[in-house]
C-alpha cells in the first residue's frame, strides 16, 4: 500500500507530544498503523520530547519521594501476586466489536478497542456510525460510509477535519485519497469530497473544533455528528 497523503508535521508533533485531542489522535493512530513514514516522524518528534525533557530546569521532589518509590518497589517485589500494571477494565470485554467493516474488511488495529455503533442512514447515500473510545465517551469520532459516486456536502471547518480512508476512495479539490491516506483539512479551506464511482468509501473522521456545514445535506448531517 503506497500512501500518498500523510499527516502534517504539526499534527504528528502534537500527537507525539500527547497534545492532540482524543478523536483526532485516534484517526492519526489509525494512519500510523499503516504508515511507516509517519511512524518514523513521530519517533523523531518523540526524540524532540526527550531533548526538551533533558533541558527542562528540574524542580525538587518532596523530600521523601524517593523513599516512597522504593517502598512501592519493595511491596511489589515481596508480593508479586499483586500485579503492578492495571488490566483493561472488564467493560471492554463485554461489548466486543465484530472487528470487521462491511465487505469483510478487518478493522484497523487501533479501532479494535472501540465501541462501534450501528450504521445509521443519514440520507443521500451516506451512512454513519459513532465510534466510542473506551474511556473517553466525549471524543467525537465517526465512521462514514458513502455510496459510489456520491458527493459529501460542501463544508468548511472552524478547526481541522481528520479523515482516514479505510475502504474505497474519494477525490476532492486536493487530490485522490485511497485506503491508508489521511486527509487533513484546516480552517482555511472548503472542500467537497466525491466518492469514486467504482465502490463505496468508508472513512474514519474526527474534527478538532467545529464544522460549518453549508447546504441542505449539511444541515441533515449536523445534528448527527453532534457539532
Amino acid at each position: 500500500m503506497t500512501i500518498r497523503h500523510h499527516a502534517t508535521d504539526e499534527t504528528l508533533m502534537r500527537y507525539a507530544a500527547g497534545q492532540l485531542p482524543a478523536g483526532p489522535a485516534m484517526v492519526v493512530a489509525t494512519h500510523l498503523a499503516g504508515c511507516p513514514v509517519c511512524r518514523a516522524r513521530v519517533a523523531g518528534f518523540e526524540a524532540v520530547g526527550g531533548a526538551l525533557l533533558e533541558v527542562t530546569e528540574p524542580v525538587p521532589m518532596a523530600p521523601d519521594a524517593f523513599a516512597a518509590a522504593l517502598r512501592v518497589i519493595d511491596a511489589e517485589e515481596t508480593a508479586p501476586a499483586i500485579a503492578p500494571l492495571t488490566a483493561a477494565p472488564p467493560s471492554l470485554a463485554r461489548r466486543r466489536v465484530p472487528g470487521m467493516l462491511p465487505g469483510g474488511i478487518p478493522l484497523p488495529e487501533p479501532l479494535r478497542a472501540c465501541e462501534i455503533g450501528p450504521w445509521r442512514w443519514i440520507g443521500f447515500g451516506v451512512r454513519a456510525s459513532a465510534v466510542k473510545l473506551p474511556h473517553d465517551p466525549s471524543a467525537r469520532l465517526t465512521l462514514l460510509r458513502v455510496g459510489p459516486g456520491r458527493k459529501l456536502p460542501e463544508h468548511g471547518h472552524f478547526g481541522t477535519e481528520f479523515t482516514q480512508v479505510l475502504v474505497g476512495s474519494f477525490i476532492d479539490g486536493y487530490g485522490r485519497y485511497l485506503p491508508g491516506d489521511l486527509s487533513e483539512m484546516d480552517s482555511q479551506v472548503e472542500h467537497q469530497p466525491v466518492v469514486d464511482p467504482d465502490g463505496e468509501c468508508i472513512c474514519l473522521a474526527a474534527l478538532e473544533g467545529g464544522m460549518r456545514l453549508t447546504g441542505f445535506l449539511g444541515r441533515l448531517i449536523q445534528p448527527f455528528v453532534r457539532l
Binding site: D9, E10, M13, R14, Y15, A16, A17, G18, Q19, P21, A22, A25, M26, A29, A33, R41, A43, G44, E46, A47, V48, G49, G50, A51, L52, L53, E54, V55, T56, P58, V59, P60, M61, A62, D64, A65, F66, A67, A68, A69, L70, V72, I73, D74, E76, T78, P84, L85, E109, P110, A113, L133, P134, H135, D136, S138, A139, G159, T160, S187
Partner: protein, 216 residues
C-alpha cells in the same frame, strides 16, 4: 535533587532499610555531574538485567525532578505533576525490560512514559499511544553498545539542534509541545498571522528533521 541527598543523609548515609536479606543497600550518590545519554541508557539496561537499585536511584535523581518540571510546564498542578512523575519513575523500574536503546534514547523513552501517563490522567484512555500498544516483546538479547550509542547520539543531536533554533522558532516549538492548542490558537495568542506561526514551526521542524534523517 538535594532533597534526595538530604533524605539519604537523614537516613544515616547508609541508604534505606530494606526488608530482604542480602539486598544491596541503595544509596544516592553525592556526584551531581550530569550523566550523559549513554550512561542513562546503561542504567535502564542495568535495572532490566539485575534489578539494580543503585542504577534506579541514579535515574530517579536525574529524571524525576525533570519529569515533574516538564509536566508542570504542560499545565498540570504541582502535586499532580509530582504524582505522575513518581508513577513514571515506577514504570521505568517495572518496564525496564521493554526499553530498546536502539529505538530511543533514555530521555526519549522516559518522555513517552510520562506523556502516556499524562494523557491517561487527562482522559483515562491511551489514545495517543494506540498505535504503539501492539504487544511489546520482551527482549532477550542484550543490545550492542553500538545500538545504545545510536539512539543516544540522535538524542544529543536533537538537543544540539534545539539550541541552534532562533528564539522565535524555539518558542513556537515549545508551545506546540507544552500546550494543547492548535497552531491557529497559538497564532491568535501571540498576535501573529497563522502563516507566520506555521512557517516558524516548519523551519524548526525542517532543521530537526534534517538532523534526524541525516544519519540513520
Amino acid at each position: 535533587m538535594n532533597a534526595l541527598l538530604d533524605h539519604a543523609r537523614a537516613d544515616g548515609s547508609a541508604g534505606l532499610p530494606l526488608p530482604r536479606r542480602g539486598r544491596v543497600v541503595t544509596q544516592l550518590t553525592e556526584d551531581n555531574a550530569m550523566p550523559d545519554g549513554g550512561e542513562l541508557a546503561r542504567l535502564i539496561l542495568k535495572i532490566a538485567a539485575e534489578r539494580d537499585r543503585q542504577a534506579f536511584a541514579r535515574l530517579y535523581q536525574h529524571f524525576a525532578p525533570r519529569v515533574t518540571a516538564f509536566l508542570r510546564k504542560s499545565g498540570l498542578p504541582a502535586n499532580t505533576a509530582e504524582e505522575i512523575a513518581q508513577e513514571a519513575m515506577l514504570s521505568v523500574w517495572r518496564k525496564a525490560s521493554y526499553f530498546d536503546p536502539a529505538r530511543a534514547g533514555a530521555a526519549t523513552w522516559i518522555f513517552t512514559i510520562a506523556r502516556n501517563l499524562r494523557v491517561d490522567h487527562l482522559r483515562r484512555v491511551r489514545v495517543a499511544t494506540a498505535a504503539e500498544n501492539a504487544p511489546p516483546e520482551e527482549r532477550e538479547v542484550v543490545p550492542s553498545s553500538e545500538a545504545v550509542l545510536l539512539a543516544t547520539e540522535q538524542e544529543a543531536r536533537v538537543r544540539a539542534a534545539l539550541k541552534a533554533l532562533s528564539d522565535e522558532q524555539a518558542l513556537v516549538l515549545r508551545l506546540s509541545f507544552f500546550s494543547d492548542k492548535a497552531h491557529s490558537e497559538i497564532a491568535r495568542e501571540l498576535g501573529l498571522p497563522l502563516g507566520t506561526v506555521k512557517s516558524r514551526v516548519r523551519l524548526a521542524l525542517g532543521r530537526l528533521r534534517a538532523l534526524l534523517e541525516g544519519e540513520s
